[in-house]
Amino acid sequence: MGSKYKVGPLQAAMLGCALLLIMLALSAPMLPSGMLLVLAGLWLTGSSLTLKCSVRWPSSVPWQLLPSFLLAGLFNVDSEHQTVWLWCFALLLMLPQPIWLMILHSLLAGYAVWQVQADLDVGQTLLIAMLLVGLMLLGLARAREVQSAWLRIGRRRRLIPGARLWSVHQLGEDLPREVVRSEREGSYAELVLIRTQGRQFWPLMSKLSQRLNDYEACYKLDNRTLATLLISRDLEQARERRKTLLDDMPTPLRSRIVTLARPLTLASEYQALRDQRQPLIIIEEG
């Protein structure tokens, strides 16, 4: 692979920035603004420590709200001493985000300018407001390419870089392909659906991918359901592999294993898994 998903330098920079913010908070002239800066520092520390896991969360979580509100909060409680942060609204617009957030950032920036102008004369206020508008437009210009990348990440096929965990959309394409292929090859392929509790999902996923062959992949159907296509030489090998696959898995577990030799659709099997009462159902031949 050409490039890897590395978060080390970013993590270090975030921690450094958090440290700076906390030092600033300690020397802040007023208590409320100091607390807001501490909050920002803690948030940066927290997100730097969870950066590796953050690819597991949906990219649509509007976390940009937090820095935006923190900034607006600073101008609300102490507009006299915290003016240096005013220009950071332009940085916020650089981030990929939904349009309603961009509008909200702009409104909050307007509020911040309003708070600042009490200490300034008309000319300066005008200059600052116009410059901020210019910088925010430049931020939007920067955001363009990342914005489309971010939209693609929202509906991405591969859920985690480097891992063989794919979206349900990909399974929709791989399933008919595997049906054709295993029939032509004479291999025995099965659709395996496993449903567990929400917090058991990631342990289950890592256990499952250890037991799969390189040419088999996991698919995430929802927050509790995993699927895979199990490909074996024949029925006998399939029976053996099923046993090792489901052995000693985190419970409670409900699974459904259906051969691809009989006509099936993903939607109906998924529904059947949700309705099923027994912990394990195996359908071998049509």
């Binding site: 692979m1 050409g2 490039s3 998903y5 978060v7 970013l10 920079a13 975030m14 450094g16 920035c17 700076l20 030092m23 600033l24 020397s27 003016t83 240096v84 942060w85 005013l86 950071c88 940085l91 650089m94 981030l95 200490d119 300034l120 000319g123 200059l127 600052i128 116009m130 410059l131 508008v133 210019g134 437009l137 430049l138 931020g139 210009a141 920067r142 363009r144 990342v146 990348a149 971010w150 990440i153 991405r156 096929r157 591969r158 859920l159 985690i160 870089p161 480097g162 990909q170 008919p176 392909r177 054709v180 292929r181 032509r184 090859e185 062959n213 390189d214 040419y215 490909i231 030489r233």
Partner: protein
């Protein structure tokens, strides 16, 4: 990571330069109205430089980068003049230069420039800087760098999670490099055959030189369509180089691979493109020998690739 630094939206980018030009010219007029005749010269002269930058921002990528540097220098001078005069609240203007630098330059350059310029901005009004001012300046610079890093992280994530090539309907080179070992393993584990068609499209480079990027892209996409039509559902097409593709044919022996090759060449012959006539491709079939290791097979494929490239006049 430099290649991941995206170019900004052209229209908005030019608009920003024009906007700063207008503001600077406006500042000159303002000083004239206010009777500060000694302060007119700097903004008036700089608005000329900024006008040049605005025009340059319409040009080629390197001209746009130069425009960014001119605007940055002009804004630095204006901001320094404001700080020097001491009429504006110093803390407010202290945050402006690092943010502007972050928005205009690439991530790494912006951070370096901001750190190098730190003493200049902090010592400008003649006094020893307060602790809060220095910390604030550093924090704003670092926050800017964090925002840019987050953008780069998103671009990397997008690249690493999309299996498809950005230009055509085939798998990306990373993905096909991952897929070949999987198919090799599957062929060995289940005792099946595996063939690969190594494909070189000699027209791509020529099309790019003579007709530009648009025709190159069209040729590539038309080829992928034709390849899809002539292969089975479970065959995989992936891009391994600028003009090189692989088609993985699982469960296929040498004869079937040659038949697929012929089918593909026939389909290509029927594909008419106005500028170049029909699509041409050089295709070699390569079948995995029983017991052949993955590195050996992959090396064989690479040698075939090179032979195809070299045989092109």
């Amino acid at each position: 990571m430099k290649h991941l630094d995206s170019l900004p939206h052209p229209g908005l980018y030019t608009f920003f330069h024009a906007w700063v030009t207008l503001l600077t010219a406006g500042a000159a007029l303002w000083h004239y109205q206010m009777g500060h005749f000694d302060r007119i010269l700097l903004p008036a002269a700089l608005s000329m430089a900024l006008l040049t930058a605005t025009l340059m921002s319409l040009g080629t990528p390197s001209a746009r980068r130069a425009a960014a540097i001119i605007t940055l220098l002009a804004s630095y001078l204006l901001c320094a003049e404001l700080l020097r005069h001491g009429e504006a609240p110093a803390m407010l203007w202290l945050g402006f230069p690092p943010v502007l630098t972050t928005l205009l330059l690439s991530t790494r350059h912006a951070l370096c420039v901001n750190l190098l310029m730190a003493p200049v901005w902090l010592l400008l009004n003649g006094n020893w800087p307060s602790l809060i001012a220095s910390l604030s300046y550093l924090a704003v610079s670092l926050v800017g760098a964090l925002a840019r890093w987050e953008m780069m992280r998103q671009l990397t994530l997008d690249k690493l999670t999309s299996p498809h090539d950005p230009e055509c309907d085939a798998l990306s080179s990373d993905m096909i490099a991952e897929r070949l070992p999987q198919e090799h393993k599957r062929a060995n584990a289940l005792g099946r055959r595996l063939s690969v068609l190594v494909i070189h499209l000699p027209q791509l480079e020529m099309a790019h030189e003579q007709f530009g990027a648009r025709l190159r892209l069209e040729l590539l996409q038309r080829f992928c369509q034709a390849a899809r039509r002539s292969c089975r559902l479970d065959d995989t097409l992936g891009r391994t180089g600028e003009s090189l593709l692989w088609m993985l044919l699982p469960g296929t022996d040498e004869n079937d691979a040659l038949m697929t090759r012929n089918r593909l060449l026939t389909t290509l012959n029927d594909t008419a493109i106005s500028e170049t006539g029909h699509l041409s491709a050089m295709v070699v079939a390569c079948t995995l020998h029983p017991g052949e290791s993955l590195p050996a097979f992959e090396q064989r494929l690479r040698i075939k690739e090179r032979a195809l490239m070299d045989s092109t006049p």
